[in-house]
């Protein structure tokens, strides 16, 4: 069986940073990513075409990590998913087959996935997430349609709006609809302190919007997406500061593409599978592994950084990666206490303001539960098994008060995505129907393989006898 000193799952800014920090201290590192290129979602497309000057220190620094990567003695395995974890043994799958990798230390930096609050018609072709549209634009230089509407909430909405507006190709971004109201932002102004670089990024995106003259409207949400075979129009409505629809404010927009997104949910499948302790923190984006000051989880030798440990953005992920990388080097005897402390303290100092900022963003842009009123009985909740909201609500009223119990009534969490899409949504529905706090409702418990792998490949994994 293959062995390494440090395995890093996820080669986004956080994973890159952890891997490089540890490698530079002399640790033998294997860096894994399921995509065929390193960089994660944040640096998607950066390797091929992003030769323009960076818009922020965060971008500059993360791009530098990518540039540094080839010169490091890091075993980079892209196109490789980690589908199982048992003790310090990882189960890997790539086009070349399945294999084991045993590591003394493991850093889990698997990022986050997008969260969408549904509405009637959200599964029509032509409706996609902000991230999906951004991938098309950033990586392939194409746009998903001609008449595009963006809606949702949060920083990605602004970033995606800017990227899509600038891609051009005869397509028009008609409007951008942000569900929150700027007035509520004032309550959080203090958290901006020490976060100039994040404001710089925001301003860069906003400028692009202004240049293109794309209207950015606050306090609006999509009520429904219309069309028979694919999206042809959307109904939008004003919403008040409580997230409630303002009567008679609806209007129809003729569009062929709707991009939606309401922030992120941490990808915790691997930390769950590893048996790490988790807790529900809404200000971190939901369920996250509990970590100490060096991002070690409750399982010794397993670290969780970046979005996996709580939604906090790329800069924060890079700092956390550095800290975890240093700690791994210390634990493996590659650094002494003094060397560790000298490197660690300045990084730690930067994390405070970042944490305040991400907590602020997560609180500010957390989709208002009142938006769930837009989910009609007919709205699909589970796309894999075509479960509708009406069935889910009936099950809740009949006594399904945890996600685990809900599975007794409706086939949610049992389809192809294993509840990655519907899990947080169902938890919200149970919470809003019963008033129970999210931590009592729980989350789906993943089991291997956390990403689907072919039966034949699983069967060919070297068995016990061949270890």
């Amino acid at each position: 069986m293959k062995t390494t000193e440090l395995a890093v799952a996820g080669a986004g800014p956080g994973g890159l940073s952890g891997a490089i920090t540890a490698a530079q201290a002399g640790v033998q590192v294997t860096l894994l990513d399921e995509y065929h290129l390193p960089g994660g979602q944040y640096l998607r497309g950066a390797l091929q075409k992003n030769h323009a000057p960076a818009i922020s220190r965060t971008e500059a620094r993360s791009r530098k990590l990518l540039e540094q990567l080839p010169s490091q003695s890091i075993d980079l395995k892209t196109g490789t998913s980690v589908w199982g974890i048992e003790g310090h043994r990882l189960a890997l799958h790539s086009a070349l087959g399945t294999e084991w990798l045993t590591a003394k230390k493991i850093i889990i930096a698997t990022g986050a996935r997008e969260f969408v609050t549904p509405f009637p018609g959200w599964t029509l072709p032509g409706v996609m997430t902000l991230g999906a549209a951004q991938i098309l634009a950033k990586e392939h230089g194409i746009l998903p349609g001609k008449r595009i509407l963006l809606a949702g909430s949060g920083p990605l909405l602004l970033a995606a709006a800017s990227v899509l507006s600038e891609t051009g190709h005869g397509a028009t971004v008609l409007e951008v609809l942000e569900a929150t109201h700027p007035l509520t932002w004032m309550n959080h102004a203090l958290a901006l302190q020490g976060n100039l670089d994040r404001l710089r990024e925001g301003w860069h995106y906003a400028k692009a919007m202004l240049r293109k003259g794309v209207p950015y409207r606050f306090g609006y949400a999509v009520v429904s997406a219309e069309g028979t075979d694919r999206l042809t129009s959307v109904i939008v409505s004003k919403i008040d500061r409580q997230g409630k629809r303002i009567p008679k404010s609806e209007r129809a927009l003729s569009v062929d593409t709707l991009c939606i997104g309401f922030g992120f949910v941490p990808n915790i499948e691997l930390t769950q599978l590893a048996g790490c302790a988790h807790e529900y923190f809404p200000e971190c984006g939901g369920w996250v592994p509990l970590t100490d000051e060096t991002f070690q989880t409750s399982i010794p030798g397993i670290y969780a950084i970046g979005e996996t440990a709580g939604i906090g953005g790329a800069y924060s992920a890079m700092l956390q990666g550095q800290i975890a990388g240093l700690e791994v080097a210390l634990e493996l005897g590659k650094l002494n206490e003094e060397e560790f402390r000298q490197a660690y303290l300045p990084i730690k100092r930067q994390l405070g303001p970042l944490k305040r900022f991400s907590v602020m963003l997560n609180a500010l842009f957390r989709p208002n539960p009142a938006l769930d009123a837009l989910i009609t009985e007919e709205t699909t909740i589970c796309r894999c098994e075509q479960v509708r909201a009406g069935e889910v609500r009936r099950a809740i009223h009949q006594g399904a008060h945890t996600l685990s119990e809900l599975k007794n009534w409706v086939p949610v969490g049992q389809g192809h995505c294993q509840g990655r899409t519907c899990g947080p949504l169902l938890a919200r529905l149970i919470s809003s129907e019963t008033g129970r706090p999210a931590r009592e409702i729980g989350c789906f418990r993943p089991r291997p393989p956390v990403k689907p792998i072919p039966l034949g490949a699983l069967g060919r994994l070297p068995g016990e006898d061949n270890l």
Partner: protein, 384 residues
């Protein structure tokens, strides 16, 4: 909260639900207590095959046959879709020697009055074209059934509740009280939410029965035996019948401590294919072991080579209540008046659930004196 019952059933899995269903038809005041929620343990972590071919001759086969008949009746009686299918099963033989064993099995089943049809290699390929071409043959058991264990549990419970059975969820049993004098008959069940006065308790707590009856000083010889199942992405119609390899029966009968793997496959209502099976003694651990799912996948690829490209989307593991003679414990415990057991079914609990509920309810309302009941009497383990 204090309340009264004629009978308290401990355990909201398929066995407890079946006991509740059959007792509810006798007009008694029944309460069922469940530590978590219905079908939260073994009944949601197993397959749904109702088989006769794994039963030994004599009492076990007779019990299985009765249960098969009851399942067919339940399809009429229960007002819910619980995934019931008269699917039949095919037992597969890799070699001629195995096919010979299959032939004997077929004879046994036929003698019991059920159907069995010997298939040579060609006939097998005709029925199941996706099977590996090198198999020696198989036996089709057309009367075997398939149910969705979780839905069946809920359907039986729902029917029982309509007839007045009270279900207490999130109610772990803390104590079972006995009369201080005389025969020391059972007098109450205490949960963290309620004290239920009752002269009669049925322990249907499956794997967890040992801990339950310890409260009245009984040491049950039940051990958890772990089983894994893989879920393959939807391939409706890929296999036409539930399939299992001839070696399945011997892995079940084996008491070996190490891992036993035998190929089992069934298509669920949604079109996913469940692949099993494994048995091992590893205590209470319910986490999925990567080595075990690898072994199951490898075995499944041997029998269904063209399923190799189909994605495995998840796996799960559950604990089966193993009893030393591979037979369930159904009936009263003489040394504890008022205590009845309905446990120890290992991997046959889904199939045997209806007959277990029926037998226990008969024990409670009438004294049962039959050869069949005697074969499963719990006192065979408590010689005084």
């Amino acid at each position: 909260m204090n309340t009264k019952a004629d009978v308290v059933i401990i355990g909201g899995g398929i066995i407890g639900a079946s006991c509740a269903f059959f007792l509810s038809q006798k007009g008694l005041n029944i309460h069922l207590v469940e530590r978590h929620f219905p079908a939260s343990g073994t009944s949601r972590a197993c397959d749904g095959l109702v088989l006769l071919l794994d039963k030994g001759p004599g009492a076990e086969l007779a019990l299985g046959k009765m249960s098969l008949g009851l399942w067919n009746q339940l399809d009429e009686m229960l007002d819910a879709d619980f995934g019931f299918e008269r699917a039949g099963t095919i037992m597969l033989a890799e070699e001629d020697a195995q096919q010979k064993a299959g032939q004997e099995k077929a004879e046994m089943i036929k003698q019991s009055g059920q159907r069995a049809e010997l298939l040579d290699s060609q006939a097998l390929q005709g029925l199941e074209p996706e099977l590996a071409p090198d198999l020696a043959g198989g036996v089709l058991f057309p009367d075997d059934l398939q149910v969705d264990p979780r839905r069946a549990t809920l359907a039986m419970l729902a029917s029982a509740q309509k007839k007045g059975v009270t279900v207490h969820t999130d109610s772990e049993v803390l104590d079972i009280k006995r009369e201080p004098q005389g025969y020391q008959r059972i007098c109450a069940v205490v949960t963290q939410k309620a004290e239920i006065s009752t002269p009669t308790v049925i322990c249907a707590a499956g794997v967890w029965s040992k801990q339950v009856v310890q409260m009245v000083g009984i040491d049950l010889p039940i051990k958890p035996r772990k089983g894994h199942i893989l879920v393959a992405a939807k391939r409706p119609g890929f296999i036409k019948h539930p399939l299992l390899e001839g070696g399945y029966v011997s892995t079940v009968q084996s008491a070996a401590d190490d891992l036993q793997v035998a190929f089992v496959a069934e298509t669920t209502r949604t079109g996913t294919i469940l692949l099993g099976s494994s048995r091992q003694f590893v205590g209470d651990d319910r986490t999925v072991s990567l080595n075990v799912i690898q072994a199951i996948a490898s075995r499944a690829s041997r029998f269904l080579p063209r399923l190799g490209n189909t994605q495995i989307i998840r796996s799960y593991a559950g604990l089966r209540p193993w009893s030393p003679d591979h037979l369930p414990l159904i009936g009263p415990v003489q040394s504890v008046p008022g205590l009845y057991l309905a446990t120890g079914h290992e991997g046959a609990g889904i199939g045997l659930a209806p007959v277990t509920g029926k037998l226990v309810s008969d024990w409670i309302t009438d004294a049962v004196e039959s050869e069949l009941a005697a074969a499963f009497h719990p006192d065979r383990f408590f010689k005084t």
